[in-house]
Amino acid sequence: MGDITGFLKVKRKEAGNRLINERICDHSEVEQVLNSEDRMLQASRCMDCGIPFCHWSCPVDNLIPEWNDLLFKGEWKAAYERLNATNNFPEFTGRICPASCEHACVLNIGQEPVTIRENEVAIVERAFSEGYIRPVLPTSRSGKNVAIVGSGPAGLAAADLLNKAGHSVTLFEKDEKPGGLLRLGIPDFKLSKAIIDRRVNLLVKEGLMIRTNTQVGRDIPAKELVSQFDAVCIAIGSGHPRDLEIEGRQLNGIHFAMEFLSNQNRINSGFIRSDGNKISAENKKVLVIGGGDTGSDCVGTAIRQKASSVTQIEILPRPPLERTPDNPWPYFGKVLKTTTSHEEGCERIWSQSTLRFNGEDNYVKWVEVEDVIWESTDGKYSFKPVPGTRRMIEADFIILALGFVHPVLDGLLSELEAELDGRKNIKVDGSQMTSIQKVFAAGDSVSGASLVVNAIASGRKAAKEIDRFLRHS
């Protein structure tokens, strides 16, 4: 298979990003693409491991060594087919997946993993441009219909598979266009919305029916859906953000990350006009509370909005630069991650506890923080404040990027009286079915907020279970 000495001859080469000064002036994708020859060379670095740890760590079980080999040989079409065998939307994951595969890559033992994610997106983009990807209509229709609520990655993946299996699938989306967080949560500079449109158009051509601006539980009674469809799949995501209930929370200028990000996305897509509706960080001293990926997206967006400064604080300590002995390969490396947004100009402070907001004229002006120290007792980590470190950070635009706690319970879920688990996520059995007969669930609404790739995996699993359910009912 492949070039067995490829990894010795070829160094890891990333496509790299557009120059900072240029990219912060627009919302277009930051990452660049490599020419085909270099891409194939990069694929030649894959060693076709006896145990492909990459594949093992991939939530959608991507057959990475197989398509890397085909890519190396220039068999782009075959490579796409192998990629598509496990992943409906490689053009999404290829752009935004944190790529646990690369963490688990055997070459990552020497910190030079194969550029798996970039290879993935290169294959699928080539497949689109060469026209390998064309609508494939099911040979026959089963006569069964399925409703899928929510058009994020989980809902889309489930819809795609069920439609291809011959069922008639209707996708319900509460917002203007399908995509869920892909469309409204993730900034364009990471995932251009044209990419989503391209895929959605394809699905529609294949027979998928989509009803946008339709919130089930509000615009349509949920029970009606259950009675009208042979199966229902709930994939509404984990929409309820975690709040920070401290003094001064009621002040203006404090936003949830998702309000901020979706506002910019809506403007970019022309759903709303920027004048008057814009939640703008322009000329603001921005403080992002929360050090995760969403926080980072807020940083990048704020910079593009020409914030005067951006600071990001996180309650956890700063991760190490290299793996620690108790976080060995091939597990996901919990090391300091610097995103393109961070590079664009942002101060990051770790081990910060946020104590209160302080403002003037109902507008936030200051945030009081203090250092914390983390300790482990009996394997449980807890923090305590470091005395004498309290101080005020000047900030007039606060973004809360503290994650999500559970799906939105009002409406659909409360109407259906779907059983929830301890964390108020939807409870499902081994076949992804909820407590309600023929109602299934997938994605973040089941697992809690997670990665796009996990949502796709969950949607695929639900689709297979629903298909089995429909065949036997």
Binding site: I4, T5, F7, L8, M47, D48, C49, G50, I51, P52, F53, H55, W56, S57, D61, L63, P65, E66, E75, A78, E81, R82, A85, A104, V106, L107, I109, G110, A165, G166, P325, D326, P328, W329, P330, Y331
Partner: protein
């Protein structure tokens, strides 16, 4: 009352037994009878005592016997009144000891004698003395009487009558209800010969039968045999000689030969013997392979065939183009091969019918046979020279039998008949060539206008799914083979479950495992020795009487390759040549009827096949084309075997051939199975369809024809390899030889469809077989079609594919826990690995042990337990220096032992490191390549391991590719960087069990302190082999599971050769305990051992030591890339690339942690079970039970009861090793030499020692050399310090491992293995003074000389046997003539041959130079040109070298031939040929170039220096 051999007990089966032996005869050429002939014969036996074996009581021999002419005068003198010579016959009769039963047997015997019209003269009591025989022998000793018979008919008629009487009597008693009938046996019943034999040692024979000491007993012939059986239950009747022959060797194809003989009985007709039904079966049931061959040989003689004829058709010589035989003889062999498949396997045979006596070797000639003819008309032939001593001037001729050749003495005409004379006569009896030319057609030459496309069109995807083709089948197997013409290679063993333990559906093929030769017979090298191998066969008319000769016999189609394209298959299907016709039978069953449907379909196939025979069809085509939603395919293997066995049972098999057209076979193993169960030709149309698609999709960049050819070639090569593993040379004899063991098939299925196949743990029945066909069938026809083809993950891990024991979880947890020393993580690892094991993945997962807890602190310490741990044999070369040394350090720290593997060891490593650590490997391995096996290496061992087989590829050789050999590796292997090194499949000094005993003896001589161990691979019969190995003197036996192994190997070998550890280990334990041999030997187990639980189960199954390879490598960083063979290991473990080696981060500490954690875990388990030490649980099969909770749909009928049966003998016999083997070193000549050379050794003062030597003085010089190497390392002593002069015939291994400073001078001759492992010493052999024969025409030393020699010199004034200089890597040798395979696998040194050579010269030779005197001008015909080029000796340095060597030869030996050459050197120089390997030449040139550059550079420096 103890019976004979148990038929079956636990996992032991009677059929596993093997024999091999010392044989010989003495005869007077002119038939002059004397007693001295008999006593000389018996002396031969005594002089070959070391070739026999003794049982556990050290007294019971495996069997010895003698055949003489019927001594009529002996009885006359004793007062018997006898009819004239020829009208009188006699024989011994073994009778039951129970008088009543004896009476009953006698009654039957006498009745039949009467019925045949023969008169009984009377019985004679045979004087016997059983006081000296062993206890075991005595416990099964029969009563023995002698019968005297007469009839007034011609001698030939009476001889036949006696044969019929014997056959009838045997049958009648066999079929009777007599309780002790198994005692009854007639060693011989003849007017011509008389056999004395029994379960005796060579020495006991004449003590027991005092007739033999009686001077009045006279004969002109004495044919003797002493037996060394691996078998553990030797018996009186299996002693040899039999009625006609004595056999040293093994018939590998015995199952097939027996089946075919049985099948043939229906079409035999003999005027001479009349109604043959009376004497059937021709082959007595439940006797040894040799006995069966004897049965057939005797039958042929009785039906009027001559001895040479019968021997030539049973054991034909190879008719390859390099065998210089006449076209007529070639036609003779060709003609007879159409209806008698070879009895294939190593064989040295001696035979006699009372008038003629002779010997022959099989085509490979792997057993030695030497003879001497004296001026007094005596001929002595034997496995060794020196078994009879003659004064030099008495000797008229000395010779050896050559491969495939025969020698016969006619004691009536007083003539010696040589091979050529005998065979010329045979060849000219009939116009065989003409008959063939007229009646036989070659398949490849049939013209056809029609090309049949491989494309299946729309059906393609349906067939892919129905026949369960995975992405790996297509990509890794078919595409690889079609693109490259080679079988894919893998590494790191097999860690997926055997088919029966997997929940996934498998093809029936996967339930079978290849068997392979180990110890009792050698595998063949299918590449270097391809000359003797063939895949050709015949199709068509077989219904001919073997006893008849006519042109009609060869009305048939000959094919060269048995795997044929669609186009040729259409020809076969439609062939109407000479009235041929075929019946096509569909391999379909009705899906709706399930298992019943499958059964019915197979029944139908059987009856249709029978009908086809009745209708006179020539062959049956079994075809699975045409499946659909209602028709599922009958597994092709099931169909072939069922039909084959059905037709045998109906006596209709000979009349028809089975041809298969199937979508099922895709990899080599599948084809091997179909042939092995009876198919003649296979058309794998699905493979062709896939190749066609791959070509159309441009996934293979070749045209279809070439891709198909590549694929077929790969399959062919693979089949040759599988055959060669068993030592089988021809597909004709492999066909239906059933050399497989089933793992996981229920006995009902076996008995009904696969009769004769071993299957010992039960398993799937017809229901599960059906389900395995239907699961994919449903997927194809019922479920939604899937466009993508699944990757099953059989070869490389896939998440939803087949389970792998080494998976991301187990690997990462193991590395994590051992690097951080985190005990809790290790527990997590163990839990994960154990739960994988019981999922179930290995057979041990089905087992559980009883618990009876005691406190842990009462259990012996972990330190003690760790001493039982060893690491596997992984050579420095296959793994990096860093990995190799880290393992050694860790094992030395814990008091375990690491293993060098096959590759030598840098002497630097023998010294301890400053910090107290040691990188010395305690176990030094001796493998077939003998790389780096020097005397110094051996004396630096605590244990010397003889690797017979390895788990990854039992029965195969190996290759270390040149790119992995850097300077240091080359140095430790005594080779040259960049030159590929080949390890031959067999050890060329172990072709049999007595050879192994010899090697063990050699090694014990070199290093008397070291334990000698023997590594075997789990296979059916491994227990019996282990018993033989124990008898051969091994201190330790390793049983490797097939699943283990880290080495690179063809995928089919990794997956399909050998069986799981548990079965082999339990069988070994059971067999050794039953024979009370267990106490003498330590058992070690390896094969995917991972956790404390694995260790405890291995202990309970019988192992006291435990080997780890894969797990150790994983601790050191291995991530199961399975790319070891490509030198690209990214973690620096299995690579020599300096860049990659930098990535190695393994630490000895981590390994120590691993072993400590394991030992701690073992302690905990011991405490749980209630035992305080490991010794208490070893072999306690009774503590294990089959856990019924571990199961799934395929495992429910597994039956482990035989595996877990504790033999009854366990009550009294020891269950683990308690004593040390007796080494038998106390009488070696070397003790005397060491004594004499005391001063020379201590003070380096020269000494000359003169001694007489005889063939029982074996391994002379080795112990002396060991002493010196221990003191002085490889440097030895100054040249000529110790000189020994010997007179006589030296025993085997003369001068083995001789070190620098010792010179052995032998005047006389010598046996096999001279100069084995020569390490700097000098050996000179000259004919005795007064010899009258020409030295360059007479044999003086035996076979396999200088095997594995690394340095030193030898000068042989005479001719050597086969394989002179095999695997020589540095010694210099001059010899005056050689047999076949000279310089095989040579990698260095110089060989000069001043005379003629045999064929296959320089096969596999990758280094060194040979000079051959090509005085007959035909050397290129004898040379294997695969790796070498020939040139004249023109280079000045070459001329100097050659002249120097010949001069030395003359100086040391006084050789006439050398003198003649030197006297006129310029005349002889042009007829010398230089033989040099291409690669070697290139490397030498590069070296020269570098040398030149260095010189130039030096000159430049000089100039510069001078300039300044």
């Amino acid at each position: 009352m103890k019976t004979y051999r148990p038929d079956k007990e636990g996992l032991y089966r009677q059929e596993f037994e093997h024999g091999s032996c010392g044989i010989g005869f003495v005869a007077h050429l002119k038939g002059k009878k004397s007693h001295s002939i008999i006593s000389k014969g018996l002396d031969i036996l005594k002089n070959m005592t070391h070739r026999g074996a003794e049982g556990a009581d050290s007294k019971t021999g495996d069997g010895a016997g003698v055949m003489i002419q019927v001594p009529r005068d002996f009885y006359l003198i004793q007062g018997y009144s006898l009819p004239p010579e020829g009208q009188f016959g006699t024989g011994l009769v073994f009778l039951p000891r129970d008088l009543n039963d004896a009476e009953k047997c006698t009654e039957i015997f006498l009745r039949i004698i009467g019925e045949e019209g023969v008169d009984i003269i009377g019985f004679r009591d045979v004087p016997r003395n059983n006081s000296t025989i062993g206890e075991i022998a005595r416990s099964v000793e029969p009563d023995i009487r002698q019968i005297l018979l007469s009839a007034d008919i011609s001698q030939d008629d009476l001889e036949r009558k006696l044969y019929i009487i014997r056959k009838r009597t045997e049958k009648a008693i066999r079929n009777s209800e007599i309780r002790q009938k198994h005692f009854f046996y007639i060693p011989s019943l003849s007017t011509k010969v008389l056999v004395y034999k029994g379960m005796l040692t060579s020495i006991q024979l004449e003590e027991y039968f005092s007739d033999l000491k009686d001077e009045r007993l006279q004969s002109a012939i004495a044919l003797v045999h002493s037996r060394f059986s691996t078998n553990t239950f030797p018996s009186w009747d299996l002693a040899q000689p039999f009625r006609v022959l004595g056999h040293n060797g093994e018939i590998n194809t015995i199952k097939g030969n027996r089946f075919w003989m049985e099948a043939r009985e229906s079409i035999l007709k003999s005027d001479k013997l009349g109604d043959l039904e009376r004497i059937y079966p021709i082959i007595e049931p439940e006797k040894s392979d040799s006995a069966s061959l004897d049965n057939v040989l005797e039958f042929l003689l009785m039906s009027g065939k001559s001895l040479p004829f019968a021997m030539s058709i049973l054991i034909p010589e190879s008719i390859n183009l390099k065998n210089p035989i006449s076209p007529e003889l070639r036609d003779f062999y060709h003609y007879h091969s159409t209806f008698m498949e070879p009895w294939d396997g190593p064989a040295s045979l001696i035979f006699s019918d009372g008038r003629y006596i002779g010997g022959m070797l099989d085509r490979n000639g792997l057993r030695p046979s030497r003879y001497v003819i004296t001026n007094n008309d005596l001929i002595v032939m034997g496995s060794e020279t020196g078994v009879q001593l003659f004064a030099p001037d008495e000797i008229r001729e000395k010779g050896r039998l050559k491969p495939g050749k025969m020698l016969l003495v006619d004691t009536v005409d007083g003539k010696v008949l040589y091979d050529q004379e005998l065979k010329t006569k045979l060849a000219n009896d009939f116009p065989y060539g003409k008959w063939i030319g007229k009646n036989m057609v070659k398949l490849e030459e049939i013209e056809t206008g029609q090309i049949v496309s491989p494309d299946l069109g729309k059906l393609h995807q349906k067939y892919i799914t129905t026949f369960n083709y995975s992405f790996e089948d297509i990509e890794r197997i078919i595409r690889e083979m079609a693109a490259t013409g080679k079988e894919p290679i893998g590494s790191m063993g097999n860690d997926v479950p055997v088919a029966v333990l997997s929940v996934k559906p498998y093809r029936l093929f996967n339930y079978f495992k290849q068997m392979f030769a180990q110890v009792t017979n050698p595998p063949i090298d299918p590449i270097r020795e391809e000359l003797v191998m063939t895949l050709s066969g015949y199709l068509g008319s077989l219904q001919q009487n073997l006893l008849d000769e006519s042109p009609d016999h060869v009305k048939m189609v000959r094919f060269r390759n048995p795997v044929i394209s669609n186009t040729y298959f259409e020809i076969v299907r439609n062939l109407r040549y000479k009235g041929f016709s075929a019946a096509t039978l569909p391999l379909h069953f009705d899906v709706r009827e399930g298992a019943e449907g499958l059964k019915a379909a197979v029944d139908q196939l059987c009856s249709d096949a029978e009908k086809a025979v009745d209708e006179g069809k020539n062959y049956i085509v079994l075809s699975d084309r045409g499946i659909d939603e209602n028709k599922a395919p009958v597994p092709s293997l099931l169909a072939v075997s069922a039909v084959h066995h059905h037709l045998i049972e109906k006596r209709k098999r000979m009349q028809i051939d089975i041809v298969v057209e199937s979508a099922e076979p895709r990899e080599v193993m599948h084809f091997a199975l179909l042939f092995g169960y009876g198919a003649s030709i296979i058309n794998p149309y699905m493979s062709f369809a896939i190749i066609d698609k791959l070509v159309r999709d441009k996934a293979i960049q070749l045209d279809y024809q070439k891709a198909e050819e590549n694929y077929v070639n790969s399959i062919n090569k693979g089949i040759l390899k599988i055959m060669s593993k068993m030592g089988i040379s021809t597909l004709r004899s492999y066909r239906s030889s059933q050399i497989f063991e089933a793992v996981g098939i229920h006995p009902d299925v076996i008995n009904k469809y696969f009769a004769g196949t071993i299957s010992r743990i039960g398993g799937i029945g017809i229901d599960e077989i059906t389900e395995e066909v239907l699961i994919p069938h449903r997927k194809a026809f019922e479920e939604e079609p899937q466009s993508e083809i699944l990757t099953e993950g059989v070869y490389a891990f896939r998440k939803h594919g087949e389970k792998h024991a080494w998976n991301p979880e187990t690997i990462s947890l193991l590395q994590w826990s051992t690097r951080t020393g985190d005990r809790e993580k290790f527990r997590e690892y163990s839990r994960q690995a154990d739960s994988d094991t019981v999922s179930p993945m290995f057979i041990r997962g089905l087992l559980r042990f009883r618990k009876n807890p005691i406190p842990v602190d009462e259990v012996e310490s972990s330190d003690k337990i760790m001493k039982r741990f060893v690491t596997g044999a992984m050579s420095y070369g296959s793994i990096s220096r860093e990995a190799h040394e880290t393992i050694a350090i860790a094992m030395n720290r814990i008091g375990g032992r690491s293993n060098t593997g096959e590759g030598g060891e840098d002497p630097e490593r023998f010294k301890p490191l400053p910090n107290g650590d040691s990188v010395r490997s305690a176990i030094k391995q001796v493998a077939s390549g003998r790389f780096g096996v020097t005397t110094e290496y051996l004396v630096n061992a605590d244990e010397i391991q003889i690797k017979i087989a390895q788990g990854a590829k039992p029965g195969e050789g190996g290759q270390l590719p040149g790119h992995k050999i850097d300077k240091i590796i080359a140095r430790t292997r005594y080779s040259i960087p960049g030159i590929t090194l080949i390890s031959p499949p067999p050890h060329h000094d172990i072709y049999s069990i007595e050879d192994l005993a010899q090697l063990i003896f050699d090694l014990k001589n070199v290093n008397p302190e070291a334990r000698i161990s023997v590594k075997l691979v789990s296979a059916s019969g491994v227990g019996t082999i282990a018993a033989g190995v124990t008898k051969a003197g091994a201190d330790l036996i390793t049983i490797s599971g097939y699943e283990g192994g880290t080495g690179a190997s063809p995928s089919s070998s990794i997956k399909h050769a050998g069986i799981p550890l548990e079965i082999g280990l339990a069988e070994t334990q059971q067999t050794l305990v039953m024979n009370n041999l267990r106490k003498r030997v330590i058992l070690q187990a390896d094969g995917q051992l991972k956790t404390a639980r694995d260790i405890v189960i291995a202990a309970l199954l019988g192992a006291e030591e435990y080997g780890f390879s894969t797990s150790a490598l994983i601790v050191l960083g291995c991530v199961m890339m399975r790319k070891c063979h490509l030198n690209t290991c990214p973690v620096g473990v299995a690579t020599q690339n300096p860049e990659l080696r930098k990535r190695f981060h393994g630490k000895a500490d981590n390994l120590v942690t691993f072993f400590r954690f394991l030992a701690d875990g073992v302690r905990e388990l011991l405490a749980e079970m209630g035992f305080r030490s490991m010794d208490e649980i070893i072999g306690r099969l009774d503590l294990l039970e089959h856990n019924p909770e571990v199961n799934h749909w395929k495992t429910k009928n597994l039956d482990l009861s035989e595996m877990l049966r504790l033999p009854a003998e366990a009550a009294k016999n020891d269950m683990h090793c308690i004593e040390r083997q007796q080494d038998k070193l106390s009488s070696v000549l070397d003790l005397d030499l060491i004594n004499e050379a005391g001063k020379a050794i201590a003070e380096k003062k020269p000494v000359l020692i003169e001694r007489c030597i005889k063939n029982t003085d074996r391994t002379t010089g080795a112990m002396l050399s060991g002493r010196i190497a221990k003191l002085y390392g490889s440097a030895g002593l100054p040249d000529g310090t110790i000189k020994c002069k010997f007179k006589g015939s030296a025993g085997q291994s003369f001068g083995a491992f001789l070190v620098h400073g010792i010179e052995l001078y032998l005047e006389g001759d010598s046996n096999d293995y001279l100069g084995k492992g020569l390490s700097g010493g000098r050996i000179i052999v000259v004919p005795p003074a007064g010899s009258t024969f020409d030295s360059d025409k007479n044999i003086i030393i035996g076979n396999t000389v200088l095997y594995g020699a690394t340095s030193g010199e030898s000068y042989i004034s005479g001719v050597a046997g086969e394989r002179f200089g095999v695997r020589n890597s540095g010694a210099i040798a001059v010899v005056e003539g050689v047999g076949n395979h000279c310089c095989e696998y040579m990698t260095g040194g110089r060989v000069v041959v001043l005379g003629s050579t045999g064929s296959n010269f320089a096969a596999g030779m990758s280094g060194g130079v040979a000079y051959v005197l090509n005085d007959k001008g035909n050397f290129d015909y004898y040379c294997n040109m695969g790796m070498v080029e020939l040139s004249l000796v023109e280079d000045l340095s070459d001329i100097d070298e050659l002249k120097d060597l010949v001069t030395k030869h003359y100086n040391y030996t006084d050789s006439k031939k050398a003198k003649m050459i030197l006297d006129d050197f310029n005349k002889f120089l042009p007829i010398f040929i230089k033989v040099i390997p291409y690669d070697y030449k290139k490397v030498l040139q590069e070296q020269k170039l570098e040398e030149l550059k260095r010189k130039i550079a030096n000159v430049e420096i000089d100039i510069e220096i001078n300039a300044t």
